[in-house]
Structures are given as C-alpha cells and as structure tokens.
Amino acid sequence: MKLPTKSVKILAALLPAGILGMSAALASTAPSAEADPAAASQGAAIRLAAIRDAVSSVTDQGIAEDPMAMDQNKDNMRVAWWGNHRWGNGGWHRRRWVNGGWRNGGWRNWHNGWRNW
C-alpha cells in the first residue's frame, strides 16, 4: 500500500488533466517486459478504497477542482467531460465532446454499462 500522501500528490497532478491527460500520463509509465499486471490485484478492494480516499482528499482540499463544479465550466470540454458524468453515476449530456464524449461511445462508460455497442 502506498502512502496516502503520495497518492494525494499523484492525483493532484493527474486529476486536473481529465481523462485524456490522465490516460496519457499513466500510459507513459512504460512497464518492464516481465512486469505482471496481475500483481496489482493483491488487495484490490483496499487499494481501490484508498484511491477513492485520496481523490476525495484532493477534491476536498481544492488541489483539483471539484468535479461537480467542473461541470459548469463550459469552456473546458475536456475537464467538463470528467465532470459531466457525475463521477460514475452514469452520464449523458446535451453538450458533446467529439473527441471522446457521447458520440464516440465514451459517455456511458462512467457507469458500468453494457459493452456491445
């Protein structure tokens, strides 16, 4: 388990970039050829809960914007895309982000939905 403060620092750097930025940043940490991603599954429930704690801490401290407030930021569609989906409550929005929003199949993934479309 990583120190929560470290997780908070990492998330404070990641969350403001939105999904696309976060995806790019995490993907840039190239694994070694022999790395086994399944090793990450140890204690998954506890680790996922710790991450949620850290995200709450980041948003509570204002290090990253409150995702619900981001929803009101109509000029930043990438950040809004993050916020528009109510952090996993399922999303659908009048506004569309062509490069990753509803029209490209992205919006619905904020909840765990059916994947055959």
Binding site: L11, A13, A44, I46, G105, H111, W114
Partner: protein, 405 residues
C-alpha cells in the same frame, strides 16, 4: 414490497432502450451469440410508437434516454423505416425527456443516405471491425464463408468522407492477444481514433475459444498494457474504452456512486421485433429458460410496463440477479468498479444468475483495473514520476479537441 414502493425506488431508472428492429443479420460471424439471425421479421413502426408512448408515460423513464438499435444488423432495415420511427418518437417525446439514437453495425451497408440520417439525428455510430483483414476475416464472414473486411472498410470510409463521428468495437480473440502493435498500425492507417475491445465471450450457444486459452487473464492484461502504452504514445487515439472508461470508476471520490445498469430492473429495456420485452443483459432476449419465461416480462403491445415489473419472470430474475450481486459484493475485490457483473455471462458460464466471478469478469473488469493499478504503482514507486506525470498530463491537455454545442 408494495407496487408503489417499487415504482418509487425505480423512478427514472430507464436510461437505455435496446430495440431489435430485426433479428436478421446479413453476415454470420463465427462467434455470434444470436439464436435467430436468419429470421427476417421486422418491427412495425406502430410497435415502436406503442413502445415509446408507454415508456414516456411511465415513471421509469430517465430524463435522458439512449435508444440503441441493435442485433441483428440494424442497417438491413431501410433508412426510410428509421426516419419514420425517429419522427414518431420525437412526436411522442415530452420536453422533460431527451433521446439519443445509436446504432451498432457491421458497417457493410453504410451509404451517404445513411450518413445523412446519422448527421440529421446526431446518431452515435459504432462499427464492428476486428482489426486488419486477416484478423477480421477469420471470424466476420458471410453465410458462404467469405470475409467482410473490404465492405466494412467501405462503410468506414463513407463515414469519414461524410464527416460522421464513429467508434469501433473490435472483438478480441486468441489471435489478437499477441498482436497489439499490429492493431495500432491498422487503426492509425485507417484513421480510427476511438477504440473499444470486446472479448470473445461464451454466450448462448457460442463457446469462446479465447476463454480456453491458457494464462488468459495475464495475457490479456499484457495486451492491454502494451496497446495502451503504445497507442497513447502515438497521440493518435482519442478514446480507448477499456482503460479510459474505467479511469473514472477507479479514480473517483468516496461520495460518488457506481451504477451497474445490467443488474437494475428496467435500467435497460430490451425489446424485440415482436414487441416482447426483457431487461437486464440485452443478450438474454432471444434465449430460452423455463424458470424465467424465456426472460420475457411481457409484450409492449398488450401489457403495461408497471405490470411487467410485477411479472413472475421479472421477480424471479430480479431475485436471483440481486443474490448474485450480493455474493459479488461479499467476495470480489473489484466490486466497487464493477457493481456485480453481467447476468448473461454468469448464466452462460456458470449456469446461474446467483454466481459470482466469470471469465468475462476476469477480462472485462479485473484485467483492465489491474493494468490501471499497476500503472499507478509505477508512478508511486518512482520519485521522479510525479513531475514527469504533471508534464505528460499537461502535454496531453494541449491536444486538439473540438467542442460542439
């Protein structure tokens, strides 16, 4: 539970309606799970009208509803049908409800006339293509066994020419696992920027060859890791669903809720061309099971939605699916990002809605979450990584995006 309590609990729950305009498909993929894809029945516009009149008048309708035209191949039904159907739905819709239409298609029949419809109604379009020609044509074939790649690519080029946004779904079989680089090259060469992977599943009568592969979860995780890393490195991909779709579920605050629409009654309303109604996993519509009335809770032409919710089939499915969700919650470390799995996969793989982990879970949920957690670990283990992370995320934020209002 009283009927009133049930209605209150499920008010506004229905945000997805899957309509099977016809079970017929113009091709015969080797991994297809649809039992009736030779049948040429087509849903009547009057059935569509009845369906949406009842949905819009019901307490279940969400403020925003996505209508997915799906299974068999929706484009074998003429454009004129959809124009009629869309206009009818629009005429019935109240101001309080918005709808979006979406098609999942093999792309072979796409023409400029279809593109006009897609643009006029801002239809979400998903095209099924399994990668470069040898990988695609190995499974996506006509009834006579001929490959369909060239015609599907013809449809994709038509969408691109006409400026219709789309994403692709690639079914990952065992031959894909060792070829993430080849897939990336193909998508880039083809101008495909939004990618979803569906693993080849065991559903209905189809038994997945992928599921029989050895060390499958680890191999799939390595496939995803490689694809994600390389694809993001090119800067040419907008959306990689298996990762990008899970990030907000993994990195969310405590106060957020997670919703698995496949385990909630009527979150998805699934309707076949005869008006038969089902719920939960859409694939269930068309399957047989004596304990659940073949998963049919009623017929939209003769029954009210409120009565369907109280039907014996719905109650039996709900009882067993909820038991399965509770079992998942008790024993699976990934429950917080999954919410209880896919009922159709539990039934197909394990023989019961009450089951827990499936091979589908391992690939669609567990492996991608592991990939994300492993990347997060690499950052946490590297003292210089946070600064690099900030730089990388800042650079990504400069990528061009187009806002449409």
């Amino acid at each position: 539970m009283s009927n009133d309590a049930l209605v209150c609990e499920l008010n506004g729950v229905m945000d997805t309606v899957v309509v099977q305009p016809t079970p017929f498909c113009n091709i015969a993929c080797t991994y297809c799970y649809l039992p009736d894809r030779d049948a040429k029945s087509v849903i009547a516009v009057d059935t569509v009208k009845t369906l949406f009149r009842k949905i819009f008048a019901s307490p279940y309708a969400a403020p925003e509803i996505t209508i997915i035209w799906h299974a068999g191949e929706p484009l074998v039904v003429p454009v004129a049908f959809y124009r009629q159907a869309f206009e009818a739905i629009e005429a019935l819709r109240t101001e309080a409800i918005e709808v979006r239409h979406s098609f999942q298609t093999n792309g072979m029949l796409i023409t400029s006339e279809w593109c006009d419809l897609f643009k006029q109604y801002e239809v979400g379009v998903g095209v099924s293509i399994d990668g470069p020609k040898p990988l695609h044509d190995a499974h996506r074939v006509t009834r006579s066994g001929r490959g369909t790649f060239d015609k599907t690519m013809g449809g994709i080029r038509c969408l691109q020419r006409e400026g219709v946004p789309f994403h692709v779904i690639t079914v990952v079989g065992k031959d894909h696992l060792d070829n993430p680089d080849r897939l990336i090259d193909f998508y880039i060469e083809s101008g495909i920027e939004d990618v979803c992977f569906n693993v080849e599943e065991s559903e209905g009568a189809h038994v997945s060859s992928l599921f029989a592969a050895s060390d499958l979860q680890a191999r799939y995780a390595k496939f995803l890791t490689r694809f994600w890393s390389l694809a993001r490195g090119t800067g040419k991909f907008n959306f990689i669903r298996e990762i990008d779709g899970l990030l907000p579920l993994v990195f969310r605050p405590n106060e957020s809720l997670m919703r698995n629409q496949q385990v909630i009654p009527f979150a998805m309303l699934n309707v076949d061309c005869h008006g038969n109604v089902s719920s939960f996993s859409p694939e269930l519509l068309g399957y047989k099971h004596p304990a659940y009335n073949d998963f049919i809770v009623g017929n939209i032409l003769t029954d009210e939605l409120e009565d369907m919710m109280q039907s014996g089939a719905m109650q039996a499915m709900r009882r067993d699916i909820e038991a399965g969700v509770q079992a998942c919650q008790a024993e699976c470390g990934y429950f917080s990002v999954c919410g209880g799995g896919a009922p159709v996969n539990k039934l197909s793989e394990r023989g019961s809605f009450r089951a827990t982990r499936t091979s589908y879970c391992a690939l669609a949920q567990i492996a991608p979450v592991d990939v994300i957690l492993a990347a997060f670990d690499r950052v946490a283990d590297d003292p210089d990584a946070i600064a690099a992370l900030a730089k990388a995320s800042s650079a990504a934020a400069q990528w061009p995006v187009t806002a449409v209002t």
